[in-house]
């Protein structure tokens, strides 16, 4: 039902140590966002793309379609960064509008391009993590990082309940559609509200029943399960460390070169 969740369970990188994947994607993401270097962004885009598609076995067309999800936001807000409204035209382009100009500068356009590449590279880092690591594994990593137990417990339960709730919602929506519940805007809005209302009632009832069931199995505020240990391999750690150091060095060298 949730496409990213389904894909990550079939990924070839699914059984690699979760901490390794987490550290790799977070470090790369941080370097990418903090440096805003175009070269680094292109490199990251390629490396994570090759890892997710090549090693992970996610179909390329799927990956491209997933990458286009945030494009609307990217397109609109970068347009807002590029275009200025002012009385004096800037150096790149200027479209007169009465006494004002819709205008932009060369520097602004370069900055926009840099922004787009950085944002895309960051999204590819996020996808590397979410398309290779199931959420339960990420929760294991968070536990090791000493996130409060209550939050992890809530996250685990919410993750489980999302699928139950989605299933109920889609069943209700299907039956509404089969009765022409979405004939026009008015009925569609009414149907949506009715669906949300009954979804809420069903969820609350089910949550009470679930607590009874959990209590009957000695639930005391923690769901304890045995973790499958997947030890990190030295070769993988070496590769990740090598890549991060290379990326860092590349960024520093480029920065120095630009400042001279």
């Amino acid at each position: 039902m949730i496409i990213i969740d389904r894909l990550c369970y079939t990924s070839g990188l699914r059984y690699v140590n979760a901490m390794e994947k987490f550290v790799f994607s977070m470090l790369t993401l941080l370097l990418c966002v903090s440096s805003r270097s175009v070269t680094a962004a292109v490199l990251v885009l390629f490396v994570t793309g090759i890892l997710t598609v090549g090693k992970g076995g996610i179909p390329l067309s799927r990956y491209i379609r997933l990458m286009s999800i945030p494009l609307v936001f990217l397109f609109l807000s970068t347009a807002a960064v590029l275009v200025n409204i002012s009385r004096t035209p800037l150096d790149a382009f200027a479209i007169p509008f009465g006494s004002f100009y819709l205008t932009g500068s060369v520097k602004g356009i370069l900055r926009g391009a840099q922004l787009i590449l950085t944002a895309l590279a960051s999204v590819s880092c996020l996808y590397f993590l979410s398309l290779s690591t199931p959420l339960t594994d990420i929760l294991g990593v968070l536990k090791k990082l000493h996130v409060p137990g209550l939050i992890i417990e809530l996250m685990l339960l919410i993750y489980r309940y999302i699928f139950i709730t989605l299933h109920t919602a889609s069943a209700i929506l299907t039956s509404q559609k089969s009765r022409l519940g979405n004939k026009n805007l008015r009925t569609a809005r009414k149907a949506f509200a009715a669906m949300a209302g009954s979804l809420f009632i069903l969820s609350v009832r089910r949550s009470c029943a679930l607590y009874d069931a959990m209590e009957a199995r000695c639930y005391n505020g923690r769901i304890q399960v045995l973790k499958e240990e997947r030890p990190a391999r030295y070769s993988e750690i070496f590769c990740i460390a090598g890549f991060e150091v290379f990326l860092f060095a590349l960024i520093v060298v480029l920065k120095c070169k630009n400042s001279i």
């Binding site: 993401l29 936001f73 809530l154 999302i162 969820s203």
Partner: protein, 248 residues
Amino acid sequence: MTRKQKKLIAGITVCSLMTGIYPAANAMHIMEGYLPVTFCIAWGVLCLPFAAAGFLKIKKTLAENPRAVTLLAMSGAFIFVISSLKIPSVTGSCSHMTGTGFGAILFGPCTVSVLGIIVLVFQAVLLAHGGLTTLGANTFSMAVAGPFVTYGIYKLCQKCRANRKAAVFLAASLGDLFTYCVTSVQLALAYPSESGGIAASAVKFLGVFAPTQIPLAIVEGLLTTAIVICLEAFAKSELKLIGYKGEA
């Protein structure tokens, strides 16, 4: 054609293009990697007190009543699912609700801030809406600012004994609009305009997102009203469980 007619046609073309290029109007999540690091950290720090207050409140609730844990988790899942489903919108394009305003009316703003953070993490990881570096900024606009405004307006309307439907509608849609304004200001602070600074930039971001966000706020208000009315009619006992006071 006269000049005026030409201008008119150009204007109509721009408008139709504007509505044509919005295939999916999401609530305004700032995407991964879009904000500079300093802003990511600053917004994150700003959210901490609210998250801590919510965390302590949840802890207290659970100490008094351990049964509430499944209820809270189910509420979080409910907010996630409501915000991930397509809603019938004005233009026929698909858009999504924020859901946090609705949560604030039912559960109160402190609880929603913690649930909101978890929901935003799930939205980033499972749906690629928003991101992990922009989590702080998104949390501030969607799980703190929006819900608090919604809750404030809702309580204010109750004090003034305003019409119930109007109260819920105003609270939900103004909360949504406020979220959109906060997000625009966040973007403007990070990317001030070359001519005119932060204020001009905020106006630009507000203008660019207005065609998606203003109809969305109205639809969200209408839907929230319908849902709350529906719940009060059919789910009195369930609402009592989550501590919702209703018309009192």
